[in-house]
Symmetry: C2
């Protein structure tokens, strides 16, 4: 088999951990597999490099910043290369530009355009383990570009797709994908399988185990994906196509995101392009809007609510108030002490009344729902921060997700 | 003018120093010059990376080690790039592979084969300062290779040659080239000019201000070279062709090298290839031999003496004893408590009796000379460590090199 193994920052945080990764890779290669390893920067290293840049200027040039930040993964791959060579495991470490992994020129949040597989195939063909930097590639102009935070998952999946790998293993610091955050819920279930679609919604809703884009790429190219722990030999969670997802459970997981804040604008007068008028300035300011709800009242005025990350709240409020004033709308309110809960499951598509059950559970708990949005396989809710963990625990239990349920 | 400015590790040791380099570069560019900056790794960074490699294995794979060690200069150039961009100075930082600087495949001590100047000319043509990593390049195989310790000087000179620069300035932590080490001799003279040939011999004899190879390259391509301080605006020392070297002084400098040790073998029986038999095994073991003296006695036996770096003494002794035994030679002696003194000057070529004066001065001092070698413009001596500084001071004075002489 051709296997891509991706290890995150905590898995290469120090030399002891690098050795452990090396031993796992050696074992996989020893079992007769061809192995391509994708590494993140050692935990903390990227932040340290960013801090250095920010000490020089508070608006670092993106191209120069990328050259600096990319050094983290380059360090990881060289260290693993040194270790494996010292153990007489034939190997070669490659930076993104050496593969090459071609990206667009959006420094700091570049997207992979195309990966040339020839060099990797050549090295694999000569019996070597190939170690590749995650998170980075090279632009047409010959500059180093990074993919943005968490991009190493995407690098691994894109490499697996380009190499038509038989398996892409994402090694992390948890045993796999859980039905809820073990820090919030006691005894969540570890999922043996999950569909790409559910995984995407979970990742998007705040489950940190995989980056959303990496799941998108995996789904598009049908890359067989596995999320495993780098600390033990637990088989982990397989991310598979919907029709392979044998466990026909209603809900796959409940996530909690405490990093968002809510803004609502009351009584916006009737008119064309109300939403564009509010969200245009936010988009220009680079502020990501997550949930959006709008409701038209009988008198023709609309109520609008949306969430942004807590860090963007102040700026977002400034724009919202500006637009609201111009349009003669009513009050603009901000709430920072809220949390977003998402319930994700393929079963929602076929089973009516899941949303109703959710609302009933929360009502019984006395938890007020401040905002709701729904997609085909996800219901997201905003509740008061104080109610959030209690609500997650109760929903998790009610949908039978506990380990011993 | 097209000027190459090279800054060493202490000049980019921290952000404050990087800013100072940036200001100097900005001033040069502001004066209307085209500037190519060559940087070493921040002081200590290369050692730290090598230490990391040595913690993984005591025989690091050279190719992987080069990928790791090369990160130091890549950090320097990105940091300076960030600073200059923040000051609105158009610039671009380039790693060796981006230039590209082509080298051979001798990882850890690669030699530059060819530098493609097109990209640098293009960037300079668009009004940018170009910042290039010293010490590294890329092999035909597409691997990063380093030039070995001090290689950044060579990078700068080679770039200056390839770009046909009008001037190559080497910025360092001293004001220029002195007639002797200010730590040993009080008040040595700062040379305004020195010939390439003298500079080569001085560098070779232990003056740390420039790497020997960089002077060789400068001499070969007649690159106008200047050694200056990065801490002040002193004009420094110009390294020029012999016929431009106006100061017709007998001796340009006296150097002291305390890092060598001496081995001598007595009464080696007559025979073919004696020297090859001794130095073959040392070369294979990668041990550099510096001074070599051999003297044939009337009875046909030879006495052989040579110096190696102190760190290699134990290994070199092992080989020397092995060969001596095989050949039936006499005693093998090692001396670690010695120092090498070199006296360098173009004047020696035309003035007879310089060696005699040297020996006379040492005899008057009561300093015993253990070994002597001479070249066209250099006399090197081995003396006891305890005598060394005294001898340097006296020679320096006797040849009129004191500032106020």
């Amino acid at each position: 088999m051709l296997i891509v193994q991706k290890f995150g920052g905590t898995s290469v945080a120090n030399l002891e951990r690098v050795r452990a990764v090396g031993e796992r890779v050696r074992k996989t290669a020893g079992d007769g597999h061809k192995v391509v390893v994708v590494l993140s920067a050692p935990a903390g290293e990227t932040d340290q490099l960013l801090k250095l840049a920010s000490e020089i200027t508070n608006q670092p040039d993106p191209r120069e910043c990328d050259s600096l930040v990319a050094l983290g993964e380059q360090k990881s791959v060289a260290l693993l290369g040194l270790y494996l060579k010292a153990q007489n495991v034939p190997c070669v470490s490659l930076s993104g530009w050496q593969v090459p992994v071609w990206t667009d020129s959006e420094h700091g949040k570049a997207r992979i355009r195309h990966i040339e597989p020839e060099r990797i195939f050549k090295e694999l063909g000569s019996g070597k383990v190939v170690i590749v930097t995650g998170f980075q590639g090279i632009t047409e102009e010959g500059d180093v570009a990074t993919l943005g935070r968490g991009g190493s998952d995407t690098s691994a999946v894109a490499l697996a797709a380009a190499l038509k790998a038989d398996l892409c293993e994402i090694y992390t610091d948890v045993d796999g994908v859980y039905t809820a955050d073990p820090k919030v819920v006691s005894g969540p279930k570890l999922l043996q399988k999950i569909s790409y679609e559910e995984m995407m919604e979970l990742a998007d809703a705040g489950a940190k185990v995989l980056q959303t884009r990496s799941v998108e790429v995996a789904a598009k190219h049908r890359v067989p994906l596995k999320v495993r722990s780098s600390f033990n030999d637990h088989p982990g969670t397989e991310v598979v196509s919907e029709n392979e997802s044998l466990e026909k459970i209603l809900v796959a997981g409940v996530t909690l995101n405490k990093n968002e804040a809510r803004i609502s604008i009351r009584r916006i007068p009737e008119g064309q392009g109300v939403l564009a008028k509010f969200f245009g300035p936010l988009a220009e300011a680079g502020i990501n809007v997550d949930m959006i709800v709008e409701n038209l009242a009988a008198d023709g005025t609309a109520d609008l609510g949306f969430t942004v990350s807590k860090g963007d709240l102040r700026t977002a409020m400034k724009y919202a108030e500006m637009v609201a004033k111009k349009m003669g709308a009513g009050r603009v309110e901000a709430a920072g002490d809220i949390a977003k809960i998402s319930i994700v499951g393929l079963g929602m598509r076929t089973h009516a009344g899941v949303a109703y059950r959710i609302f009933q559970i929360l009502a019984d708990l006395g938890v007020a729902v401040q905002m709701v949005t729904t997609s085909e396989i996800k219901v997201s809710l905003v509740v008061a921060m104080d109610d959030a963990e209690k609500a997650v625990r109760e929903l998790h239990k009610a949908f039978g997700l506990e380990k011993n349920a």
